[in-house]
């Protein structure tokens, strides 16, 4: 990696960290406003209990998300995603589709894909915020059509529909690599072999180990 590229990434890390801290402090204004402005006493005993409960839920899930997503996104993209969420069900899929549309292979991490994936995550973030803003403005007229029970199965199955399309394309490109995560993943999920918060991390690790085995076998074949 050259000096300009390193400087670019370092600047992304600097701006990302500053913006995350500022945004997180801002989110603390909500509980602070209730306690200070509306003078509601802090329920310390309950705050401790719910802190523990939420950490037990979020830490394993976040570890899985973090270690899975960090290798495949640009530094800038990661900071945008850490702030706005929806990584796996929106930002990553739209970035993959966007890189493919630009003629790049999303599995090859180059400086060009670094920059273009940043633009993709940025575009995805702005689009999402605009759609939510439109939803806020149109909340009352939208509530009837979007709340229609006939449409409920459609909106309840956005994620399966999304990954059906994405998955088939990637599995077609790398069928051998897909064997380990698909077979072992099926067993893990079907028989609930591990807590659900750890499933993502486990599948990524199994997939990478499987990939390493295939790589080593192919290397030995090439040497012969």
């Amino acid at each position: 990696m050259n000096d300009i590229s390193t400087a670019y990434d370092n600047q992304a890390h600097r701006i990302g960290r500053i913006s995350l801290v500022i945004a997180f402090v801002c989110t603390l204004f909500f509980p602070a406003a209730i306690a200070v402005y509306y003078k509601v006493p802090l329920p310390f005993h309950a705050m401790g209990a719910s802190f523990t409960a939420i950490m037990l839920m979020m830490i394993p899930a976040s570890i899985g998300d973090f270690f899975s997503i960090a290798p495949i996104v640009s530094p800038s993209g990661m900071y945008m995603m850490a702030l706005t969420g929806n990584f796996t069900n929106m930002k990553i899929p739209s970035t993959i589709a966007a890189l493919e549309s630009a003629g790049l292979d999303p599995t090859e991490y180059t400086e060009e894909s670094n920059v273009l994936s940043t633009l993709a995550v940025g575009a995805s973030t702005i689009t999402c915020e605009l759609v939510i803003f439109a939803g806020v403005l149109l909340l009352t007229p939208l509530s009837k059509p979007l709340g229609n029970p006939a449409l409920a199965p459609a909106f309840n199955n956005i994620v399966p529909a999304l990954f059906g399309a994405l998955g088939v394309t990637l599995i077609k490109k790398s069928p051998k690599l897909a064997i380990a995560p698909i077979i072992l993943g099926f067993l893990i999920i079907k028989f609930q072999l591990i807590p659900s918060s750890f499933i993502l991390l486990a599948l990524v690790l199994l997939s990478v180990v499987g990939g390493r085995v295939i790589y080593k076998i192919d290397e030995k074949k090439a040497e012969k």
Binding site: A33, P75, M90, A123, E129, G135, G164
Partner: protein, 234 residues
């Protein structure tokens, strides 16, 4: 109106939400500006940039509608500005509802029901806010070092196939979770997934046959909508 909802829909909550929204927009525009400057240095073509922005935007619309529906569910319970802020910042309905419930539970009351006092609301808001600190903390403290180690490893393996295999494997691991859950659960989720997969293959074949490359930008969205329609028909 329930007492706590007056606070939840108060001007001060709207002000905080707009500040948060502004921070998100400023962050995104700063990163976009940096990326455009770097794109020029790398001689990335304007058409590549346009294609990436268009495709990313188009494929975000449908999943974003799910977020709007989540907003419709959360607003009656937690008020409009806070629900909007939460779903814009590390947003997912299942997380927000779970966190809000934990806050209510810890106070010994049911979320949004009679008995859900201002203090209970404060605890729900605290729980929802503090839960999102986990990903932010990991990113703040570990991401740079982790990314640098990954980059060093990729540089070392520059001349082999391993980097490509590694990223493919990570993506497959992520996708596997969301593909296998409908396989195990069956029903409309499986129908949506399989239909979407079939349409993705059909569109790919159609593009190869006709040369209509512009269709690639919409392939994911079209496949998703077909999958979602299949879920309704089941």
């Amino acid at each position: 109106m329930k007492e706590y909802l007056k606070v939840a829909n108060s001007p001060i909550f709207y002000i905080i939400t707009f500040i948060l929204f502004a921070i998100i927009i400023v962050q995104v525009f700063v990163f976009i500006r940096m990326a455009l400057k770097r794109a020029k240095q790398l001689n990335i073509t304007h058409s590549q940039i346009k294609s990436v922005v268009k495709t990313a935007s188009v494929t975000t619309v449908v999943p974003s509608i799910a977020t709007v529906i989540a907003l419709l569910t959360l607003v009656p319970i937690m008020g409009l500005p806070f629900s909007w802020a939460r779903l814009s910042v590390i947003g997912s309905l299942s997380y927000e509802l779970a966190a809000a419930n934990m806050g209510a539970d810890a106070m010994g009351v049911a979320l949004g029901q009679s008995g859900y006092t201002m203090q209970a609301f404060l605890n729900s808001v605290w729980t929802m806010t503090i839960g999102s600190s986990v990903m932010i903390t990991f990113t703040l403290f570990f991401f740079k070092k982790y990314k640098q180690q990954l980059s060093k490893s990729m540089e070392k393996n520059r001349n082999s196939n391993w980097n490509k295999i590694f990223i493919s494997a990570v993506l497959l691991g992520v996708y596997a979770k969301f593909i296998l859950e409908p396989v195990v659960s069956g029903g409309s989720a499986l129908a949506a997934m399989l239909t979407s997969a079939v349409f993705a293959l059909i569109i790919e074949w159609f593009i190869k046959k006709t040369g209509f490359r512009w269709l690639q930008d919409f392939s994911l969205s079209i496949s998703m909508i077909c999958g979602m329609a299949a879920a309704c028909l089941l």
